[in-house]
Symmetry: C2
Subunit: 385 residues, 2 copies
């Protein structure tokens, strides 16, 4: 059916009607008083969502842009960077650091696993000369659905004296992420994720420790330059012409997030992810991330049952039930599929996604107790947490 697609991918995610109506308005002048008011609200409310006292910068770019905005304001040629890699997006940090001429080391884990804090501690202990300037890590790894214990990892990084740079693209809004309290030095995120607006905006927040490293950066990138954004935030402005329509949508979406409450929004994502995981197990499918405590609350990766291919699952669930789920990336392509429960997702959506998945597997000949998944979701969602 046309025009009925439900996005259960890790992004773009569903957008509320009221947000789309703001985006649909004709653009206004980006130097007008009217737009300045929108920026004022946006900058204030972003501090609330990011749980920070620091300014949050908004870039007109993909989420990857904000990742560049982090490292291209910090890294000089020859700097030592340690990248903690759970998958594709953890690896992206390493690539960006390398593109600036950094000497990059990695701690990599198997698919679905997370970084063991003790492994990190031991690795940093080897760095007796304190050469490692920056440690990059991922909160919720979009390619596998695994989620690091960022709080513990950042405290170890801080102890060593390095700077922590965290990808919160699919975690901010969905999972507790507390940069000021946890000592995350730089945190980035993207609009088409928990923020419930279409792609095109990305976010960055840096603390005082990060600013000190910035001061020593020889060639901060012109487009991402923190100093220009800092000055603009304080003047309710932007350094360059921003995507004004997306900002209007963001303004509306942030109001909705405030009305729900960021803690409630985090809790909702946790409930949905855990209910989905329980349902997947009940259907008899294997989760990529075994342990609930290592699971992202925004993306769930699943192995197909034996004899049924990922492309077939994606095809049937899309064509028959208008649900879009994601394939695996790179080496995981056709090996796993990924379901997002990120952003503007209600209980009914989770129930219907599991229903559609059951119907798809049934059609593809998988043998299981029909209704077991949906029943499990309903029970899980009904539990008091």
């Amino acid at each position: 059916m046309k025009d009925k697609t439900f996005l259960m991918i890790p992004g773009p995610t569903p957008v509320p009607e009221s947000v789309m109506l703001e985006i649909a308005k004709h653009p206004i002048g980006h130097r007008s008083g009217e737009f300045s008011k929108i920026l004022h609200n946006v900058y204030e409310n972003l501090k609330y969502v990011f749980r920070t006292k620091n300014d949050v910068f908004v870039y007109t770019s993909s989420g990857t842009g904000a990742m560049c905005a982090a490292l291209e304001n910090l890294v000089n040629e020859g700097d030592h960077v340690l990248s903690l890699v759970l998958g594709n997006f953890g690896n992206r940090w390493a690539k960006i650091a390398e593109s600036r001429g950094a000497i990059v080391e990695k701690i990599e884990v198997a698919t679905g696993e997370v970084i063991d804090p003790e492994v990190l501690r031991a690795k940093l202990a080897e760095d007796e000369e304190k050469k490692i300037k920056i440690v990059t890590l991922t909160h919720s790894e979009t390619s596998t659905g695994a989620a690091n214990d960022v709080k513990t990892l950042c405290s170890i990084i801080r102890e060593h004296g390095a700077l922590s740079v965290v990808d919160g693209v699919t975690s901010v809004c969905a999972m507790e992420c507390n940069p000021d309290e946890w000592g995350i030095d730089v945190l980035v995120s993207g609009s088409q994720k928990g923020f419930m607006i279409p792609p095109g905006l990305a976010f960055l927040v840096a603390n005082e420790r990060a600013w000190k490293v910035y001061e020593e950066c020889k060639h901060p990138s012109f487009y991402w330059d923190w100093a220009a954004y800092k000055k603009s935030v304080q003047a309710d402005s932007t350094p360059f012409t921003p995507a004004v329509n997306l900002f209007a949508g963001l303004d509306k979406a942030l109001e909705m997030i405030k009305a729900e409450g960021i803690e409630n929004m985090n809790a909702r994502h946790r409930r949905h992810a855990m209910a989905l995981r329980a349902a997947i197990r009940a259907i008899g499918l294997e989760l990529v991330v075994k342990d609930d405590k290592n699971a992202s609350h925004s993306i769930t990766s699943i192995y197909p049952p034996e004899g049924i291919s990922v492309p077939d699952i994606r095809k049937v669930i899309k064509e028959d039930f208008d649900v879009l789920v994601a394939n695996g990336q790179n080496a995981l392509k056709d090996k796993i599929f990924r379901m997002g429960t990120l952003g503007f997702v209600c209980d009914r959506d989770v129930i219907s996604a599991v229903g559609a998945l059951e119907a798809t597997l049934y059609k593809l000949g998988y043998k299981f107790e029909l209704g077991k998944g949906v029943g499990t979701v309903i029970k899980e969602l009904a539990r008091e947490i």
Copy 2:
């Protein structure tokens, strides 16, 4: 009056209803077949609009992003860059080159003037060792409304053996801009200009000579990396999550441009700019760019009459007539105002803008023959060209 603002600034520019309706649709998956089809059309039609056989890259960013995408794929530390500066945006090229560690020299001209080809020729002749690797220039300088003779300048740059990098942000669509024929090595533009869509996308086209210089770039920026975009264009894809809604709008807008014809679109902009210039003279106001042949066809900069301030003109024309015109930038702030006739602008719009300007000046006590400006526009627009 609310909701009635008419944008006569250099960008954002008015957006057709049919384009806004595409943008207003819920986002679709950026790795879906449906989006791939949109990309296929967009990439094909951009070649038509840019009059090039080369691939046109689309960045999710402001126009300045595409300027970074040009120099951050070409410049190494210590490279010599010559920047031809007509104003603020010509200067931006110099700043970006400096941010990459280039040694930048400038040829600067007074407000409203353009680069004399012979001055450029003489300057390059001094560079006997051929140290100058890149010459940056602006086609239509948005801060003054002056327009360079890009064709002649690029042929001189080519003769010298340097690479020409051209800002076509407010010229592509509005003025003839022919990279393949004129030997422009890198050309950039932005969406919220002649392309008739809101801000958030930017364009870049590079030829084979530019690619050779790219191959020697030590640290191409990860987000702007040409190789990643080239690969994606050829697969009807994008390297990172793009602003899908803006792409849907762009697809529609490009169809409209094709239906009008790029030559007709250029001619329309020329007619409008020349009619507006004639009207300004008829009202007795002074144009910043004296000579029609040096004038941009998208932006017209005007000095206020003696005793009447730019802020007053901008305030009255906005509050009483719902027309937004731009102030001058930096040193030109409050010294000039700028009217855009860029993108989705019809003859009636030019007539009404001049009418609103006359009404504004009348209200502010300026003595002139009322109706003279509108009369002139009507006559100019009625002329066969």
